[in-house]
């Protein structure tokens, strides 16, 4: 059983040898296989849970809630607010689709405009 758990070989002491590997790849003819059906491939991916898309999220008129759509340029930020304020913000989100991010963005613009004038 010696050497089963402890790798005591001297591999680490060898001088690195980098032969010209892959010479056979140069001689290989490039295969001209037909392009796969992208929809079928995507369906195969989704069936295995590989469903995250890199496409830009399309704007929707439906109320937005929960996590932002993937790929939207946002970062995670944890803040504490009073429960009353949170309820009001949730109501605004459900009724008008305006998220906390939108409210904060409006506030920032209003603040900056007020500062200029």
């Amino acid at each position: 059983m010696a050497g089963t758990f402890l790798n005591l070989s001297d591999d680490d002491q060898e001088e690195p040898q980098v032969p010209k590997i892959g010479a056979g790849l140069k001689r290989k003819k490039k295969s001209s296989r037909p392009r796969a059906d992208a929809e079928a491939v995507a369906a195969a991916g989704r069936a295995n849970g590989f469903n995250r898309s890199t496409d830009t999220a399309q704007p929707s008129s439906a109320p937005r809630r929960g996590r932002p759509p993937l790929n939207e340029d946002m970062t995670y930020w944890r803040i504490y607010v009073s429960s009353d304020l949170r309820n009001q913000l949730n109501e605004l989100r459900d009724k008008e689709g305006r998220r906390l991010n939108d409210v904060l963005a409006d506030m920032l613009v209003a603040y900056q405009n007020g500062k200029v004038t």
Binding site: D11, P16, Q17, G22, L25, A44, G49, N51, T54
Partner: protein
């Protein structure tokens, strides 16, 4: 030929494996090598190449093509495959459609995994997706597990159990493992290839490790 390096698990060594394998194949000047960086984080096209430019290290020994978009990746891979002898595709560590597209266009998929249960679960999902993406493309896409970040000195119990499970289930794996070595981390941090790092015993060991892996990979690809 196109080799995709994919797993839905982050941190298992996809970008490191991609960079080091591309570097070792690029030592053969007769070959034209490219990396397609399909990771939206652009670890290679933005971070690695950016560092390289900052340090004025000159052109990389392989071409880096950036395409982190589902809608164009198949075109990009087709074009890269036509223009280069060997193309490595680095993918994001998420369960994304991009991985399915890349798998369907690949001659081989490498699924890196550390010897841990979580990585094993992710690798299993990746293998099933590769199989089904191949079926959707009406062909068989070969896949190999690459065990990464193993200890050079000690074979842990979980490592032993992992290998036994893989071999017992008939899952094909690369016999060479990519060990946990400081030079692999420095490659990304310094924007250099392994061969451009300051010479040391640990760099020699990392080069030796990667050369063995590259040779094994070349034999698989040449046999196809």
């Amino acid at each position: 030929m196109i080799v995709s390096v994919l797993s839905p698990k982050g941190g298992c060594g996809k970008s490191t494996a991609t960079l080091t394998l591309a570097s070792v194949f690029a030592k053969n000047e007769d070959l034209s090598i490219a990396i397609v960086d399909a990771d939206p984080r652009q670890s290679i096209a933005r971070v690695w190449l950016g560092k390289r430019n900052e340090e004025n290290l000159g052109d990389a020994p392989f071409k880096v093509i950036s395409d982190p978009s589902d809608s164009t990746i198949l075109d990009t891979l087709e074009s890269a495959g036509d223009d280069h002898d060997l193309v490595f595709v680095d993918l994001e560590g998420v369960a994304g459609l991009m991985a399915s597209y890349a798998a369907s266009a690949s001659d081989l998929c490498i699924v890196p995994m550390r010897p841990s249960a979580l990585d094993g679960d992710a690798a299993g999902a990746a293998l099933k997706m590769i199989r089904d993406a191949g079926r959707a493309a009406r062909r068989t896409v070969p896949a190999r597990i690459l065990v990464t970040q193993t200890d050079a000195a000690i074979v842990t119990t979980s490592h032993k159990e992992l290998l036994a499970e893989l071999d017992g289930a008939g899952v094909e794996r690369l016999q060479t493992e990519l060990m946990r070595r400081a030079p692999f981390e420095r490659v990304m941090a310094e924007g250099r290839t392994l061969f451009e790092l300051q010479d040391s015993q640990s760099v020699k060991s990392a080069i030796s490790n990667t050369a063995r892996l590259g040779k094994e990979l070349a034999e698989i690809l040449e046999a196809q």
